[in-house]
Symmetry: C2
């Protein structure tokens, strides 16, 4: 494994928590890492340079959105997703498996894959492990995710077992498609991307173990914990992570998909997770919620109408350096785009500062103190 | 008149066109100048630093919007509009006279002023010359506009005469209120603002002359041509400017309110106008229209889906330096905020580059050649 492609290095541990780096051709990702969502080829309401300035080493792109609009082949013709959107650091793309089930119409799952109609124009599509990988490679992702089948954690056991086992067959097909792409169609991207497998199995320890074994047998550059943060509640999620995270190879990055709130992230890092993505900081930025060390604030609230403090006192972000809550309140109440821009920017800085705090705390062996202090204040 | 407050210097002329500077306490405005709209305390979809980087020396704030939300007294308590919105260069505020007639509900005009109901919440308000001036001073405007009464250029002559004559009485009341504010309530703003009068009279040369005489008699720091660009067409507008602009004192800035398209601006500069404001570059940025030297482009058009050019080839703006039309097309089609951000930024740069071109052309005595070249290409 050359450093050109993918090299995970653990610099320090604190309990099962780890801090280190993932070195890839397009840059180094400091872990634990938070990946802002670049859903449809843009981190919403942010210029790419400002995303980088917030401390983000890597962003996430959504296969489902991008395959429908503007289309993977089109993005490839336009020079790939990095060039298209002006982001030259690493990009991880999801497999589309989650969003096709949550956003598309008339989804139908078979062993081959998932057929569905676009939520945009009703056009018919088929997403298979092979097509998902192809889309992600056409986009030029640095980290490609295996295509999996999601079922709710409240599904019956038979359904859970069947979905996990199918996901493992799809993981193998994803691996094969990924390797074949490198061999046959990789072009300039050949040998430069990494592939992650996704553990499934709901909240069941035995299923999580079987899934981890199957994935490890296939072999991936990193491993994600999938199927969580879908409504099971923080207690159940952390209870599952207590056993699920440690089943994944310790020398590879572990990625908890779709997580989460600041306290979720801290608890997951304590359980050995290295990577996160979540819509919260960006979406909240567009709905008037600002993250602070004391908990989230709803800037629509009239109590901020003459509040002269920045969104978060002490925050070094550009929004907090220049503007007061009273102004952001006015922007949010008035539906001004600048409100979404400033709130999103602050929230992304907040998340990256949290990750930096976690990395420093692990490196200095004081993660429990850091977590206790943060969680004692955060409401 | 100290340079601290307001000093207009003409550096060069070309025909009746002029280029120079307006020096104010908060900065120097290069003329001919284009003022982006900072309607409700924000140049929509732009950070203030990026507005300044586009070359804007001054922006415009709307009295009508700001008096309703967040309110002039509130802005004053929060340190004034400049501090509130993070813009430290000069701001011109309009008088509210135009927008109260075009946006408010149940407007009723009397000699006292205009009573109306807010389009936001139906609350009742009265805008008089005295209140308009007070609002603008509370906001902390560097250039304050007299409160006037607008009637359509298609109104009958009796109505035109009455509106012009009332506007002149209101101009005197505006002058008195402005001076009284400096004397009694100016506080830190005392003696720092300038006051412009507004010429009315529709398309009638005699009425324009009478209005100019009345304003000059009262005495203002600058003079605006009001009541144009309201649907009369470019030919009629320029025909009016042919006689109206020269009636205003040559040693004071002349401001053509609400204008305009690039070709309108060029023709008005040729007729001796020094200042402009218009919603076009910002609003077009949010509706997918990009200004270029070849004319406006509608980025929603499918022909841009794989266009690898920047919005305008050769444009040095941040949007053109980094992104291709194909990407902006995708953003606009997807309703992404970044689309509005990039298009607005480019359009503001386009307008400021046009003004720079005009200033340089006047300084070098080649305005006719510049205008001919620009207008020959612009479609």
């Amino acid at each position: 494994m050359s450093i050109e492609r993918f090299a995970f290095t653990i610099a320090a541990t604190d309990g099962v928590a780890r801090t280190g780096t993932i070195a890839m051709g397009r840059g180094v990702v400091r872990t634990p890492a938070f990946m802002p969502l670049g859903t449809a080829g843009t981190v919403k309401a942010m210029k790419p340079g400002d995303v980088a300035a917030s401390g983000a080493d890597i962003i996430l792109g959504n296969t489902y959105h991008l395959m429908l609009r503007p289309g993977a082949e089109r993005v490839a013709r336009l020079g790939g997703l990095h060039h298209f959107m002006g982001w030259d650091r690493p990009i991880l793309t999801d497999s589309g498996g989650y969003q096709v089930m949550s956003l598309a119409d008339l989804t139908k799952v078979s062993e081959q894959g998932v057929s569905f109609k676009s939520h945009l124009d009703g056009s018919a599509h088929l997403l298979t492990p092979e097509r998902s990988i192809e889309v992600q490679r056409l986009l030029g992702a640095d980290i490609v995710m295996a295509f999996d089948q999601l079922v709710p954690t409240t599904s019956g056991r038979a359904e859970q077992v069947a979905a996990m086992e199918r996901s493992m067959r799809w993981a193998k097909r994803s691996r094969d498609a990924f390797d074949a792409f490198d061999g046959a169609k990789g072009g300039e991207h050949a040998g430069k991307a990494a592939l992650f497998g996704i553990q499934q199995g709901g909240l069941d320890q035995g299923l999580r173990e079987a899934s981890a074994d199957a994935l490890t047998e296939i072999g991936f550059d990193g491993y994600a914990v999938g199927g969580l943060a879908v409504g099971e509640g923080q207690g159940a999620m952390l209870g599952c992570l207590d056993f699920a995270a440690g089943m994944l190879p310790a020398d590879r990055p572990r990625y908890l998909m779709g997580v989460g709130k600041p306290d979720d992230i801290i608890e997951a890092v304590r359980r050995g997770i290295d990577m996160f993505d979540c819509v919260l900081p960006t979406r909240s930025g567009r709905t008037g919620q600002a993250f602070t060390a004391d908990g989230p604030l709803n800037l629509r609230n009239a109590r901020f109408a003459e509040d002269r403090e920045p969104l978060e006192p002490g925050c070094p972000c550009p929004a907090c350096s220049r503007f007061e809550r009273a102004y952001v309140h006015h922007l949010v109440k008035s539906g001004e785009i600048l409100g979404a821009m400033l709130m999103t920017e602050h929230n992304l800085w907040f998340y990256q500062r949290l990750m930096e705090g976690l990395r420093d705390a692990i490196a200095e062996g004081r993660l429990q103190a850091f977590a206790g202090e943060f969680l004692g204040r955060y409401r």
